[in-house]
Structures are given as structure tokens and as C-alpha cells.
Subunit: 228 residues, 2 copies
DNA sequence: ATGTCGATTTCGTGC
DNA sequence: GCACGAAGTCGACAT
């Protein structure tokens, strides 16, 4: 990885065009040829960048007045291109980092779904699982179950429940209820947190809302699938 | 901005839990207290990070064996926390970057909309523009036009057409068709790329799909509205 | 402050 | 490899 602190201007041309006026920034060049241009603020997204795979070529001649060198970062797969005009170079170091073992995550929607499928009675006594990821023409229903009365239940699962999730579940219910083998199908919107507007919309459409306690569910599930 | 190259392990606890095993990485500390942890590959997204505003505290005592120092990065607004155990420090520099003037863009959905409005006959001969951003009670219709038969057409425009866009257009059509001065109103879903599931849903609802070629449209449009 | 929507999204997963 | 959905999404803009 090469780290350069430089006063520079940047032009990107690819799926769109973009321009960065002259300022001092960090230029990060990774081993795969990708380049990230960071300012000293904002979040993790760079001001501009080139995704890998890419190649960096440095030009020293035929440049505009005041430009020390021009970096041409060319994507290897598309014709996206990044032009960096370097006006002043304050820092330039290279470091050998090696390959990273990568991130281990816990607590995303997939974990919630697995836990809820294992503990489907959380939703009510007599509930039984039909299957996870029940595929339809318009996408997969997170969980399909049967309640104590034998009625089919479509469950939409979110970490954070907002209106989009209710819309999604509504579409599934509309489609599933056209299937005489399944109909009538009721819906349950389950999330760690459900926003008031989403709850109102769901209730209005006859969809039940359930708030899930991830920590409690993980506590019940005594399998040895622990991170730490 | 402070740049550190260090062998480290990282634990994040906040909206989820995540862990990075020991490896050599770049630790970037920005002026607003945000921290980015980058490996020498991948795209612009860091392996792990803390969004601003945040504060960095460095501990030197009571650490595990082999740990030189522990960084505690605490979000100022939430209880999200990042723990970085530094095992070896290879590089540590600080740089004054100043405030960045920011990015100037061209070629996003707004530009597509302007182009399509100018070249409304792309959608069919005899088409004429009524107006862009036709405001309704539930939001603006991207483009309202009239086809060769004089029928009103509501056009929803996306760079990438997925199901959400079809839902949006459906709501507009429902509303517009209640207006006797406009009804009947047909819909066109126009995008640079339309996903199969979105196409299925649109077709099912009697909405036409059109794929747009932005480069061709930009070529036809000979106006001098260029950035550079 | 809050909600909504686009993005050069990136990232994982299933087929 | 392609397509789709989630994200600790981020960011911009309107209310």
C-alpha cells in the first residue's frame, strides 16, 4: 500500500463525470491497483476512487503549468478513468501489509432469520416452520410458517422495520393469496425495532407486528455457534 | 489526519458485533475523530470503521500480552465502540489537510431526466412533453407526457430499475387516474437497466418498460452543457 | 431534526 | 457468472 499526501486536483470519467478542485488530500494506492482519495473528514466513503482491478500510470511530461506529475488510473475491466494532477507532494511512503484474514460479523439479518426459524414458537404457541427463503416470482419470502389453526403465515424479517418492509410483505401476501393451495395467507412483520409509521401501515393492512429481542433469542439458542 | 500502519486486531460492538483477527493494516484517524481501518485490497469500504463524531482514547496499561496499546474509539452520539489492539507499530505520521472543497458531479438521475425530457420522442414517435417534475400529493412524477393518441403518460425514471421504482409509479398512476382531466393515464418505467423481477411486476400491472442508452442520449443532445 | 431517495454504492448469497 | 437483497450503508435534499 502506498500513501501519498499531496495537493492535487482530480477528474473522474466513467459512469458519470466528476471533478475535485485543488486541495490537499490523501491518495491511497492499494496492491490491486485501486486508488482512494480521502479528505480529512466525512465518513468512510472517499471523495473519489477507482475500484479494482486497475492500473496506475504516472506521467511527467506535457502537463499543465504547476503540475508535477499526472496519475492516470485506468480500470482494467471498464473504460472508467481517474486523472490526478499532483501539484505538490508532502508525503510518500509504501508499506507491505499482506493479505487480510477479513471480517467476522454477527447479528445481521441472516442470523436473526436462522434464530427465528429455530424458535418459530416465539411468534405464538403452535407455530411450525414450513421453510425459510420461500421463493416466489417476485422474490423470496423470508420465512413461511403455519400457525396453530393451520393457516399459512408469511413472515418478513428486518433488523429495522420501516415502511419498505411492509410494502414488500404486502406484495408477497398479494401473490401468495392467489395460490389456492396456500390461501388464505396472513402476514407477520418481525423486526428488532419497528418504526411507528411502519406499524400503522402494517396494522391497517391486517399485518401483525412482532418486535424481536435478538439477545434473548441468542440466549435461548444454546448452540456453540459463538464468535468469541 | 493521522496515518498508522500497525499489526492489530479489532473488535466492533454497536448495531452488530464484528471482529478482525490479527494482521497488518492501515489505521486512518480523521480530524473529526472518525477512524478507518483499511487492508491492502477490496474496494473503498474499510474493513471496519467508526463514523464521526467520535473520540479516540489510547490505553497503555492493563492490556493483554503482546499488546502495545489499545485504542478505544467511542461514538459521540451512540454507544457504538471500536477497540483496536495494537501489537506492532510500523509507521505513524500526522498531516494537516485543511477543509476540502468537495466533489462536483454530472450524469446522475437529474441529468438523465433532463435529457429524456429534451428527447421525449425516444419513447415513441408522436410523444410530446407536458412537464418534468409534475407534482402530486404523494410526490413528483418524473415526467408527464402525451403519446401519439393524446393519452397522458406518466414516466418514472431510474438509472437502475428495480421493484421499488415500479411501486412508486404504480402509486402515481393510481392517483393520476382519479383525475378526470388526465385519465386514462398509462405508465412507462424507463431506466438504463431494468431488473427482471421489476419487469415482471411492471408488465403485470400494464406498465411499459423502456431501457435507456445514456451515452446515445448524451450524444444526440448537442447542447453546450458540459462540465469541462 | 427528520424522513425520503439516489448511489461510480459495496458486499454477500443463492442459483 | 449473474441477479437480487442487505448494509454499522453514506449523503443530499426537502419538509
Amino acid at each position: 500500500m502506498r500513501l501519498v499526501i499531496a495537493r492535487c486536483s482530480v477528474d473522474y470519467e466513467g459512469r458519470l463525470k466528476a471533478h475535485l478542485p485543488e486541495a490537499t488530500r490523501l491518495l491511497m494506492v492499494k496492491a490491486d491497483g485501486s486508488v482512494l482519495i480521502h479528505s480529512d473528514g466525512g465518513s468512510y466513503k472517499p471523495l473519489n476512487w477507482m475500484s479494482p482491478p486497475a492500473t496506475l500510470r504516472v506521467l511527467h511530461e506535457g502537463l499543465d503549468d504547476g503540475v508535477i506529475e499526472q496519475w492516470v488510473v485506468q480500470s482494467a475491466k471498464t473504460d472508467d478513468r481517474l486523472l490526478i494532477n499532483v501539484l505538490e507532494n508532502f508525503h510518500d511512503t509504501a508499506h507491505d501489509l499482506g493479505v487480510d484474514p477479513g471480517l467476522i460479523k454477527d447479528g445481521v439479518e441472516a442470523d436473526l432469520q436462522r434464530l427465528l426459524a429455530d424458535q418459530i414458537e416465539t411468534l405464538g404457541s403452535g407455530f411450525s416452520l414450513i421453510r425459510r427463503e420461500y421463493f416466489t416470482a417476485i422474490g423470496p419470502v423470508d420465512i413461511l410458517a403455519r400457525d396453530a389453526n393451520g393457516t399459512t403465515v408469511a413472515i418478513e424479517l428486518k433488523r429495522r422495520g420501516d415502511i419498505d418492509g411492509v410494502e414488500q410483505l404486502t406484495r408477497y401476501l398479494e401473490l401468495l393469496n392467489r395460490d389456492p393451495l396456500l390461501a388464505p395467507v396472513r402476514g407477520i412483520f418481525a423486526a428488532q425495532q419497528i418504526k411507528p409509521q411502519a406499524r400503522v401501515l402494517a396494522t391497517d393492512r391486517g399485518i401483525d407486528c412482532v418486535t424481536l429481542d435478538y439477545d434473548a433469542m441468542r440466549g435461548v439458542d444454546d448452540s456453540a455457534s459463538r464468535l468469541f
